[in-house]
Every structure is written in C-alpha cells, then in structure tokens.
C-alpha cells in the first residue's frame, strides 16, 4: 500500500497528460473560478488560426447530498460535442440531447454508480449561488462512453442555455475551448487571444488543454504537493519499519548466524543472505501493493471525474512501485546485513549460552 500515494500522484500526472494538442483553453487571467462574457466568443473566433470554439461552465450542482460529488457542466451542446469527439454518444441520443433544453447526458461510469437510465429525472441542488436558489431538473437523454483519455465517464453535461436563463448574471462562460488549425501555432494563437482582452475588465489566460486540466486539478488544492508529501512520509516510514524489522530479525537469529559462521560460511555470504532476504520480502510486499493498487485504483471504481480522466495504475506506475520497493529492501537490509556479517562469533555464542 505504500505505493498508493506515488501511484496516485503519477496517475494524476498521466491524467493531465491525456489532452489534445489541437485544443487550447481560455480562462480568466485571475482564476478559473471567475467567468467571462460569452461575447468573448466572437472576438476569439475572429483570431487567425482559430478553427472552432465552444464554451462551458462549472455548475457545481449537488445530487441529493454533497458527498455525491461528480462533475456537472453546462455546455453549448452542438459545439461542445463537436469539439470533443471523445464523448461517444449514439446518434439518436445525441439528437435527443440537443433538442431537449432540459436534457442531460451522463457518463456510463456515473450512470452505473447511481443507476441512471434513459428518461430518468435528475434533480441538482444549486451549489454556486449565481445560478439562483431553485433546484434544476434534468432528463437523462443519453449515456456516453469515453472515447479517449481526455474525457472521463463520470461527468454530467447539460445545456448552458437552460442554466443561463435562471442565472443571476446572464451570458457568462467559465472557459472557452478553442480548436486551432495548426498545433504548432497554438502558442501564437493563445498569445493573440490574450492580447485581444488585455487591459479589459475580463483579461484572459489561454493555455494548452494540459495546463487547463492541471489548473482544474489544483482547484482541489495543491494536490501534487499533498500527495507527494504523503508518499514521501509513507516511504520514509516504511523504510524505518523495514530496517527495524530486519534488524530485529538479525538480532533474533544471532545464534544461527554465529553457527553458520562457525561452520565456515564466509561473512560475504551472510551479508548476501540477510540483504537478499530484505530485498525479497520488500519485493513480495511491492508485488502485493502494486496488485492491490491496480485493483483499488481502478478507473471504473474511482469516481474522480472532473478533468482527472485517467486515474489508474498503468505499467509504468507498477514498475515505479516495484523499483521503489526494491530500493527500500536494499536500503533497509544494508545495515542489518552489515551487522550480521561483522558479528563476532565468540561473542554471539557466549550470549546464546
């Protein structure tokens, strides 16, 4: 289990890497939590190099209980689904979603989690005051599959217009997703967009989709630092525990080691036996830990959602975990192995007598 933290951390990183190189995202320069007018859309669209555009809002609605957290996002349906071909919907579901103003689509993971079916009514309580005070009712018109790592299967999407009608502040977009014609020009296009809104009340910050996902993740706090700190603490603790266990094990077997030395086993062999035991035990622990992590940190079980799409343990994570366990075994075994190999036979036998 000691690898879980590190694995989660690297999994989060791989999530943010699951992004498209042709999509860039514009947010308010101050923070993602502030919105911008939808009038920005035309200005952005007129920027050279921009091929397509859509926008979305983080709704932050609550399904029955605040503990039932999942991403629920207001989108401009046609352009959003065009922008994200990774949202895989049956044609009839897509049509039904686009046509019905109160419709929503849910990821198959989310549908499995809450038992949502086509035609079901979902009521979300307002989580952000700007969306008014009354609950919002939605009808499930489609269950989408994730067709790529950039999209998770734990989110809910619905019409931006439906939300906007009841918002206290109208015509606001949380972020714009822009498709650039040439990925090599993404940096120039981003700079050009931001330049257009410089010195306005709604200055923007345009970056790659990866950077956007990272900033989204950081809304939950400095997750990287948090997970890194936990992982480091766990690894150091494990190191001390493993080292202490091996030292105790050697102390308990002082007589056996002295007997083996008396029989003629060289000190180098004793060193290798003790160090090898520590290494083997640690690797066995590592294999169990990685195996458990692969079962527990499963994309189908973890409802991370919210732009942390790939949240699992891949082969690289597993290799890092095993490498780390081997490292811990070697370090933890070194001092006890040295103690055992330098044991004075006569003193050890006298203690046993």
């Amino acid at each position: 289990m000691k690898f879980l933290g590190l694995v989660l951390k690297s999994a989060r990183r791989s999530g943010t890497e699951a992004s498209s190189s042709t999509r860039i995202v514009t947010i308010r320069s101050t923070s993602l939590i502030f919105s911008m007018p939808t009038s920005h859309a035309e200005t952005i669209r007129s920027t050279p190099g921009v091929q397509d555009l859509t926008w979305a809002n983080w709704f932050g609605g609550i399904y029955k209980d605040p503990q039932n957290f999942f991403a629920n996002i207001a989108i401009e349906p046609v352009s959003y689904l065009r922008m994200y071909p990774e949202i895989v919907l049956a044609p009839e579901a897509r049509a039904a979603f686009v046509e019905d103003r109160t419709a929503c689509i849910v990821g198959e993971g989310l549908a499995r989690r809450y038992g949502f079916k086509l035609g079901d009514k979902i009521t979300l309580k307002v989580g952000i005051p700007t969306y008014g005070t009354e609950d919002y009712d939605f009808t499930v018109r489609g269950v989408y599959k994730s067709g790529g790592a950039a999209v998770d299967n734990q989110s809910m999407f619905f019409h931006w217009k439906y939300v906007d009608e009841r918002s206290l502040v109208k015509g606001q977009a949380g972020w714009y997703v822009i498709k650039v014609a040439n990925p090599d020009q993404a940096a120039q296009v981003s700079a050009a967009i931001d330049q257009k809104f410089a010195n306005s009340p709604y200055e923007t910050k345009t970056d790659t989709e990866r950077a956007f996902q990272s900033s989204f993740v950081s809304m939950f706090g400095n997750l990287s630092l948090l997970l890194g700190s936990i992982s480091l603490a766990v690894v150091i603790t494990t190191l001390f525990v493993a080292g202490n266990t091996m030292a105790m094990s050697v102390r308990e077997r002082t007589t056996e080691i002295a007997v083996m030395r008396t029989l003629g086993f060289p000190s180098s062999t004793i060193f290798l036996l003790v160090a090898g035991e520590a290494l083997l035990m640690s690797i066995i622990g590592g294999v169990l830990g990685v195996g458990l992590a692969r079962v527990i940190v499963n994309p189908n079980l973890i409802q991370a959602g919210a732009f942390i799409p790939v949240f699992g343990v891949n082969n690289t994570n597993a290799a890092v975990g095993l490498g780390l366990s081997a490292f811990i075994g070697l370090v933890a075994g070194f001092i006890p192995a040295t103690m055992a190999s330098r044991l004075k036979i006569v003193d050890a036998l006298r203690r046993a007598a």
Binding site: T255, E256, V259, M260, R261, T262, L263, G264, F265, P266, S267, S268, I345, V346, L349, A352, A353
Partner: protein
C-alpha cells in the same frame, strides 16, 4: 609431527578498559587420532582454548597450528574456508537451525562444497546413519529429544569428514542416559573412524572416555594425564 600445536598462546579480553587474562602462555601438542579432554573450573580458559583451535577466535600472542596451517595468522576469509574443510564443532546447546529438518541441518556445511545434490544426500544419509538417526531425517529439531538433537549436531560436525572434531561440553545439557549415548558415539568416532577429538567437559564420567586429559586453571596448564 603433532596434528595440533599451540605455542606460548596467550589470550586476554578487554572489558571496560580492563584487561582480563584468560590464557597465559599455554603450549600443548595433540597427536592425530587422539581424544583429548580439556578439564578445569569455570573461567579456567577451556572454551577459549577450544575457540582458538576452531579458528573462531584469535590469540593475543603465540601461535596455533593445525596440520600444516598456521591458523593464527590466516585472514578472516581464508579462516572461514579453513573451518569449513577442517573443523567439526559440537556445541553444548546443539545449536541446530530450528527451521531446518535434521537432514537439512546436516546438509548445511556441505552447501559450501562442490558436491552435487545426490552426493550431498549420500553424505548426509551416511552421517545420520552413523549417529543412528537415519529414520529422523525429516524431523525438525523441536520434534527431537535433547540427546537426538545432539546426535544430529554430531552428524552435522562429521558430515564433511573434518580433520578435527571440537566438542564444547557436549553432554552438559543432557540427562545421564543421553549423555552416555553421545559419549559412546564420540568414542566410536575416535576409535573406529580415527577422528581426532578435543572435548571440553566438567563431567568426570565424560572425561573418562578421553585418551588424554589436560587440566587448566586460571588460564594455565596445571596437569596432563593419560587415561586408561
């Protein structure tokens, strides 16, 4: 030439900056095929002398020669190899490895040789046969009596056919019957298999089985007698 020769051997330990003399200029010679008993009160230096002969301790001064090898000047790594080839050690508390069966305990010293698995099996079977425990090879030490454990320990000591058998109070933890069996076995190894044995003992009955006796007192040799 004697098989074992100690010349002017002195041994002292330092405890809390105080030097404690254990052996003082001891010189002895043991012929091949002898069964030597080392006697003396506690603290007289008997076990220290045995440890020096086994190469698990080093003299402060003087020399220890076994066969052609001056073991007091051998480096540690060579000494370990020398012990594996030439010394069979029998401990008072048997010191079998508890997680290994009788067979595996006896096989342990053979893992340091180039023998094949089949050859090792032959050697172990022979050794366990000599100590009359051929039917207990799959038993763990906890499943054996004290006397049987010591006989397994003797099998482990003889399995490599060493030059010298060293026994430190081999009957010290046994009842009279088991002790007699172990002593008979040692005597048989000496007389039938011509093994040179050096045995430390407090027990006068055990000492009677030796062919020579050396008496140590306060680290010096006080008497040397021939038995029988």
């Amino acid at each position: 030439m004697a098989l074992i020769e100690l010349r002017d051997v002195t041994k002292s330990y330092t405890r809390d900056a105080i030097e404690i003399p254990v052996l003082d200029r001891v010189s002895i010679a043991v012929e091949a095929g002898d069964f030597l008993g080392l006697m003396g009160p506690s603290g007289s230096g008997k076990s220290t002398l045995l440890n020096l002969l086994a190469g698990i301790d080093r003299p402060t001064s003087g020399s220890v020669r076994v066969g052609d090898t001056e073991i007091s000047s051998l480096p540690e790594r060579s000494l370990a190899g020398w012990r594996a080839r030439h010394i069979g050690f029998i401990f008072q508390l048997y010191n079998l490895i508890p997680v290994l069966t009788a067979f595996e305990n006896v096989e342990l010293p053979l893992l340091l040789t180039n023998l094949t698995k089949a050859q090792r099996r032959d050697h172990v079977t022979t050794a366990l046969g000599i100590v009359a425990l051929g039917d207990r090879e799959k038993h763990y030490p906890r499943q054996l009596s004290g006397g049987q454990e010591q006989r397994v320990a003797i099998a482990r000591a003889i399995v490599t056919d060493p030059t010298l058998l060293l026994a430190d109070e081999p009957t010290g933890d046994l009842d009279a019957k088991s002790a007699a069996e172990v002593l008979t076995l040692l005597q048989r190894l000496n007389q039938e298999y011509k093994k040179t044995i050096v045995m430390v003992t407090h027990d006068p009955h055990a000492a009677e089985r030796a062919s020579h006796l050396l008496h140590l007192e306060k680290g010096t040799l006080v008497e040397q007698t021939r038995v029988g």
